[in-house]
Structures are given as structure tokens and as C-alpha cells.
Amino acid sequence: MTASPDMPMIHVVDDEAPFRRSLLFLLESVGWQAAGHESAEAFLAAAPAFPAAGGCIVLDIRMPRLSGLELQRRLLAAGSMFPVIFMTGHGDVELAVQAMKDGALDFLQKPFKDQLFLDAVERAVQVSVERHAAQRRQDEALEVLTRLSAREREVARLLALGLANKEVARLLGISDNTVHVHRQHVMDKTGTGSAADLARLILRADPEGLD
């Protein structure tokens, strides 16, 4: 199956080859695009070439050398948006709890029903898709905001916080008229019609942008 850049990709990382292959076979049965990796290191090596379409990682929690948990930590550190589903063996509950604290999306205790697995993958892909959409919106908001000058951005932030023109003028030590001109430019450049719209845009670009 040729990889389609538009489709989400399901990555299965498990050192147990037959089991790994059986999961890929199962995923392909319901139409997912899937790739297998025999170790955490192999996954990391292949990661730069992954298409941007999203997907999820199904990760065996116990593997020689680099373990599943460690891989998750590295992915988080690298800002990966891949949701992670852990597969755990019997007696690995503590590890699973740790994984969830570290931001894993789900965990499945082996042996698991195929439907449970597919449902978890489904959810993870949705999460991934949502994450990708959110990312896209943020990127767009950032792009819009970069069109503003530094003073315009200052004015935009204060306006988004709901301040009136006079208050903005006083805070910035400029005249009311000047504020009015900046406001007009901001509205034009961002295409927003109100202070509320402006606030949403700023928050989309940076959730903490109004603090």
C-alpha cells in the first residue's frame, strides 16, 4: 500500500515482529495506512520523513534498550503531535499509569480485542486530526498577526483586552487620534470587525497572549 500524504498514518512500534505484523494487517483491514517499526530507535530514525497528515503511534511499553516510555518523553520534548497508545503486558499497570500522566492518549493491556484496539486508534486519529486543525488555525493567526507593526500589535492586544481608545492612549502615552489610526490599521490588516474578534485571533495564535 503506497503511503498517501493526505491520509493519517498509524505507526506500530513493537519488537515482536509477528505480533507487529498482525496489527498492521488488522489496521489495513479497516483501511488505515500503517507502518511498523521494530524499535523506538528505528521509529525516531524514520520520523523526519513522515508526512504531515497526522496519525498516531501504537507503542509497546516494554522494549529492549529504548523503552516505550522513553520514546514518548522524547516525542513530547520534540513537540510531536502524535497521540500515543500504549500496549502493556500483564503487571505493567504502574508503567501504564506513568504513561497516562506523561500524556499518553490511551493504553491497552495485552491481549486485547481487535475492536478495542481499532476504536482506540480511531479516537487517536481524531485527536490527531483535531490537533492538526488547531495547529493550522494558530499558524494562520500567527501569520495574520505578523503583518502588524510592533506598535499596532501593542494596540491590538490592549484593544483585545477590552480597553477603550482613551484608555489605550493614556496607557501608551499617545494621543486618542493616534490610537484611532492604529485601530483602523489593525482592523484592516487582520480583517476583524470588533475587539472580540481580535481577542479570539490573538488567543488562537497564542493561548497565553492576553495574560
Binding site: S22, F25, L26, S29, P64, G89, H90, K110, P111, D114
Partner: protein, 602 residues
């Protein structure tokens, strides 16, 4: 004058007679016993004239003559009732030995006769018996004689026959005892009651002289020329003896001897002469084992008993003691043997129990290893089962959605098959490992055993650091004589311990195994990079129930020790060099000549 002379004569006569009467009354009679071998009457007739003559010559000593048979005379002598005895040569020799009588004169046929050669015998047959010409012809015939006790009438001839190899006692010839007088013997021969007869020397001549026999009617067998005036078939022996009893005074003996020698020959021409040497008689009696030598033929138990009873008793007591001792020893030996047998049986039972116990212990230890590894074993089984399940579900999904392609079906089926085989393999391994089994010794390549154990170890546990195997050149091609499963068990135990030790310090270096040769053994060392163990605990490591792990039973290494020692090897722990860590080294016997042979034969 006449009166005084007559009176004097009368007085003298009176005194003489009185003295004589007094003297006769005072001097005791001389008691003489004679052997009445032909009957009392005959003896009276024969000896009365002798006694009369003796009485005359003994100055008035009265002579008391008594007649005895053989036994009676001996009894009278013992009772001290006799001063002298007159008896035949054989009986004299007997009395001399038994009662201590001593001869003072020997009876001879006439004065010219040598007293040592007087008594002899003639064996006569009817002249017409041409079939009997010599004594040797008497074998198988009958021989008449007066009495077995008669000296000249039987015993002399008996001795002669014995010298010829004949023995009347065994019926060769068979004796026919006629009794006295000796004329009965002549009658027996004449009327054919006996083939031959024994006569005293000179009786035949006397009978012919008297006309009782016709000369030549009877013939003497094997006549001997010699000293006798008569025909005899035997040697000659001394004649009858006149002997003094032991208490008899020498003076009386001398008086009697003088009287005897001075006697003139009697009517039969017999007279007394100086005593002869009776030694030939002794020899004869000894040869015949009669008279004083009768004891020779009496192997007679009573006499032997009388003589030897203390010895016999002692011997019997010793025999009894020896028998009792032998019985006692035998009993002890049997008891000891029984005890030994029982002890050996008990020991064999015990050994069997120990052997059984050890097998059970091995088995338990294998089970305990399985228990420790059960989590990962479940994982081992779950993996293939899960894969199989995934493939099956996938196929269903694909078919349901109408997207089942033949290549996918083939791929899934192949995977299912191989995974099911893998699961079966895992189960088979567990079964083989957990099975109870008998003691096994086989030749194996130690390197192969280590590799197999490493593979098992890696398969049983996930995330293990791996085993690094080093092998010296001198080990190449060597074979050890072992139970492969037990050695694997030991190795797995050591690997597991090494891994646990390394996990405790978060070390994931590979566990190191090395093989080397140690004399006639192969040495296997397993080394970890764990925290190690202080020397005082290294020694205790192999004790049962000693453990450094919170949840450990402390049996693993003690069982390893049992297994290795059952193989004739040893096991010890030491600090790893260079540290940190612990090295456990054990030895296994190399295959020797005998083992190689049995291996080849099997």
C-alpha cells in the same frame, strides 16, 4: 630194772606222741591247689600219690589238696587260701601275671627231658584220609579238641595253625570240642565226627602201647623231628608248673622244692625238674590273645573305659565345649550376616529414597523456576495467540467488507500457522522442562548447552541484557557427561540471578559466560556486573533457604549445588575480577573412556 625201762620207754613214747600231736596241731597244713582239667575224680587219682610222697618228705606237715577249675584257682589265690598251685603252662603264665605266683619246678616226662620242651600237640587223622597230608590241608575241615582252654590239647595247636594262616576261630578248620577225657577226641576222629583231632604229645604212643589203637591206624600230620620222644605236630613248650603263691615263705618253698626234686618218677614216668623258662608260653598266649593277654582281643569297651575314662571324659567335655563354641560362633556369624544383610537393605532403601527425594527436589526447582518466569511465559504464549487472533479477525473484517484479496489471505494463513507452531513450541519446552524424569547422563558439547540455555533465557524473559559467551581454545571439542536439562536448569538459575543482580543497580551490560578446562573437568563461569556479595555471604550462598532477595525462597542455588555435586562437580562463588559483580563457577565431568564407550554403544 624192767619196770623202769618199760616205764621209761612208755613215758618217752607218750611224750613223743604228745609232742607229735601237739606239733601236728600247731603247724598249719600246706595248702596245694591243683588244676582239675579232666575232672575232680581224675585229678584226685592223678595227684594223690604225689601228695602222699610230699607229705612224707615234709616232716609230718599235713598237705591239704584242693581241686580247682581255671577261674576257681585264681579266686582262691586272691583270697589267700593257697600256698602252692600246680597247673598247666598256659594257666601258670596267667596266674603269674594276675596273682604273682612264681614257679619252683616244672613237670617233665622223665629225668632226661629238657623241662622247656615238654608239652606239645599231635594232630591225627585216619590213616586212609589221603586228602589230608599236612596241617595246611585242614582248611575247611573239622578239628576235634577237648576244650578251648586246654593248653597242650588245643591252644598249642591253635597257635601252629595261625602261623600257617589258618584260624580255627574263623572256622578254618572248624573246632569240634568234645570235652574231657582226651580219648573222646580219638573216638571223634575214628568214627568220622571230625576230620582231624588234637592230642597231647605222647598220648597216641601210649594208646598204641596200651593196645587201644592199632599202630598206624591214626597218622600224625606234619610231624616235627626234635626233642620229643613222641610224634608231634607243634613246637614244644615247658610242662606243668609247680608254683608258690606270693605270701608263701621262701623257707617253705625251698622245703617243697627239695621234696619235689627228690621224688622218683611216678607211674606215668613223670617227675619234677628245675623250673623252665615260660617265655615261649607268654609269646604263644600273646599271639592268641588269651589268658593274661585276653585284653588284647577285648577291644573290650568296658576295660578301655576303665583305663581311659578320665581321658575319654575330658575328650568328651572338650568335644562338647568345642561343639558348643562352634555352634555359638556359627550362631554369631549367622546373626551378624543377618544384621549386615538388613543394614545393607536399609541402606539401599535409604539411597533409593534419597535418589527419589533428589529427583523431586530437581523437579520442584524446575517448577519454581517456571513459577518465577510464569509472567513472561504467559507473555510468550500470549504473543503468538494474540497475533493469530488479529489475523483471524482481520480476515473476517476484510471478507465482510468484500476486500479480501488472495495475497492477504495467504499472508494471514502463513502467519497463523507459524505463530501456532511457535506457541506449541513454547508449551513443549515448558512441558519438557517441568516433567519429572529419571537420572540421565549423556555426552554433550558444553558450548552448545550454554548457547541453548542463553537462547531459552532470552526467550523466557523480555528485555534481558543478553548473554556474552566466551570459550577458550582448550575447550573446543570437549564433551561433558551430564544431564543436559539439569545443566540448563543450573545455567538458567545463574542467568536469572545475574540479571536480578544487575537490575538492582540498573546495569544492562550482557551477562558473561566463559568455558575453560580444569584438569579432567570443564569449568563454567557466569559473571554479572551487579553489586556483588561480601565474602562471608559468598560461602553461604549455596545453603538452602539462604537468600538476598526479599521474595526469594533461597532454594535455587542450593539446588544448583545439589545438581552439580550429583554430577561429581563443584560450585563456588567469588567476587568478579575485575569488579564489580559476582562470578559463580561450576565444574562438570568430562567424558572419560568408559563413558565414551557407553555413548558409542547407545
Amino acid at each position: 630194772m624192767r619196770f623202769p625201762f618199760r616205764a621209761l620207754v612208755a613215758l618217752i613214747m607218750l611224750g613223743f606222741f604228745t609232742l607229735a600231736a601237739w606239733g601236728a596241731a600247731v603247724a598249719p597244713p600246706v595248702r596245694i591247689g591243683v588244676l582239675a582239667w579232666q575232672g575232680l575224680e581224675e585229678a584226685e587219682i592223678r595227684w594223690s600219690s604225689l601228695m602222699n610222697q610230699l607229705e612224707e618228705r615234709l616232716a609230718g606237715r599235713r598237705i591239704e589238696l584242693r581241686h580247682f577249675d581255671l577261674a576257681g584257682m585264681a579266686a582262691a589265690l586272691r583270697a589267700g587260701e593257697l600256698d602252692f598251685v600246680v597247673t598247666n603252662p598256659g594257666h601258670y603264665v596267667f596266674l603269674e601275671a594276675e596273682n604273682g605266683v612264681s614257679r619252683i619246678a616244672t613237670l617233665v616226662a622223665d629225668a632226661s627231658t629238657d623241662p622247656a620242651h615238654v608239652v606239645g600237640s599231635a594232630v591225627v587223622v585216619l590213616d586212609e584220609r589221603r586228602d589230608i597230608t599236612a596241617l595246611a590241608d585242614l582248611k575247611g575241615r573239622t578239628l576235634a579238641a577237648v576244650s578251648a582252654d586246654a593248653f597242650g590239647g588245643y591252644q598249642v595247636m591253635w597257635a601252629e595253625l595261625r602261623r600257617l594262616g589258618l584260624d580255627p576261630e574263623r572256622g578254618q578248620p572248624r573246632p569240634v570240642l568234645t570235652g574231657f577225657p582226651m580219648s573222646k577226641v580219638v573216638e571223634a576222629v575214628l568214627n568220622g565226627d571230625a576230620d582231624a583231632g588234637v592230642l597231647r604229645a605222647c598220648l597216641l604212643e601210649r594208646l598204641e602201647q596200651e593196645g587201644a589203637l592199632r599202630p598206624g591206624q591214626l597218622r600224625v600230620l606234619s610231624p616235627r623231628a626234635g626233642m620229643s620222644p613222641c610224634r608231634v605236630s607243634s613246637r614244644l613248650y615247658p610242662g606243668w608248673a609247680f608254683a608258690a603263691a606270693q605270701p608263701t615263705s621262701p623257707a617253705l618253698s625251698r622245703d617243697v622244692l627239695v621234696a619235689l626234686l627228690s621224688l622218683s618218677p611216678d607211674a606215668a614216668g613223670q617227675s619234677w625238674s628245675v623250673p623252665a623258662d615260660y617265655h615261649p608260653v607268654h609269646e604263644l598266649l600273646q599271639e592268641l590273645q588269651i589268658g593274661p593277654y585276653a585284653f588284647l582281643r577285648e577291644t573290650a569297651w568296658p576295660s578301655l573305659w576303665e583305663r581311659y575314662w578320665p581321658w575319654v571324659c575330658g575328650l568328651v567335655v572338650m568335644l562338647l565345649a568345642w561343639g558348643a563354641y562352634t555352634l555359638h560362633v556359627e550362631h554369631l556369624v549367622q546373626r551378624r550376616t543377618r544384621e549386615l544383610t538388613q543394614a545393607m537393605e536399609a541402606r539401599q532403601r535409604l539411597e533409593a529414597q534419597v535418589h527419589e527425594g533428589q529427583q523431586q527436589m530437581d523437579h520442584l526447582s524446575r517448577l519454581s523456576i517456571l513459577g518465577e518466569l510464569s509472567g513472561t511465559l504467559a507473555h510468550e504464549l500470549n504473543q503468538p495467540l494474540a497475533a493469530i487472533g488479529n489475523y483471524a479477525r482481520s480476515l473476517l473484517r476484510r471478507q465482510d467488507s468484500g476486500r479480501l484479496e488472495p495475497t492477504a489471505l495467504r499472508q494471514a494463513a502463513e502467519e497463523i500457522a507459524s505463530e501456532s507452531e511457535r506457541a506449541a513450541g513454547v508449551l513443549g519446552g515448558i512441558r519438557a522442562f517441568a516433567r519429572k524424569r529419571d537420572r540421565v547422563r549423556e555426552a554433550h558439547d558444553p558450548a552448545a548447552l550454554v548457547r541453548e540455555a542463553s537462547r531459552l533465557f532470552a526467550g523466557m524473559l523480555q528485555g534481558v541484557p543478553g548473554v556474552m559467551f566466551r570459550q577458550g581454545d582448550e575447550v573446543a571439542g570437549l564433551q561433558v557427561w551430564v544431564d543436559p536439562l539439569q545443566v540448563q536448569q543450573v545455567l538458567l538459575n545463574l542467568f536469572k540471578n545475574a540479571w536480578d543482580a544487575q537490575q538492582a543497580v540498573g546495569c544492562d551490560l550482557p551477562i558473561e559466560v566463559s568455558l575453560s578446562r580444569d584438569g579432567e573437568r570443564c569449568s563454567v563461569a557466569v559473571r554479572d556486573y551487579g553489586p556483588g556479595l561480601p565474602p562471608e555471604l559468598q560461602a553461604r550462598l549455596f545453603e538452602a533457604f539462604f537468600t538476598t532477595k526479599p521474595e526469594g525462597l533461597g532454594l535455587g542455588l542450593s539446588i544448583c549445588k545439589t545438581i552439580i555435586e550429583a554430577h561429581g562437580g563443584g560450585i563456588a562463588a567469588a567476587a568478579a575480577d575485575p569488579g564489580p559483580g559476582l562470578a559463580i563457577r561450576f565444574t562438570l565431568p568430562l567424558v572419560d573412556g568408559a563413558a565414551s564407550v557407553s555413548r558409542e554403544s547407545s
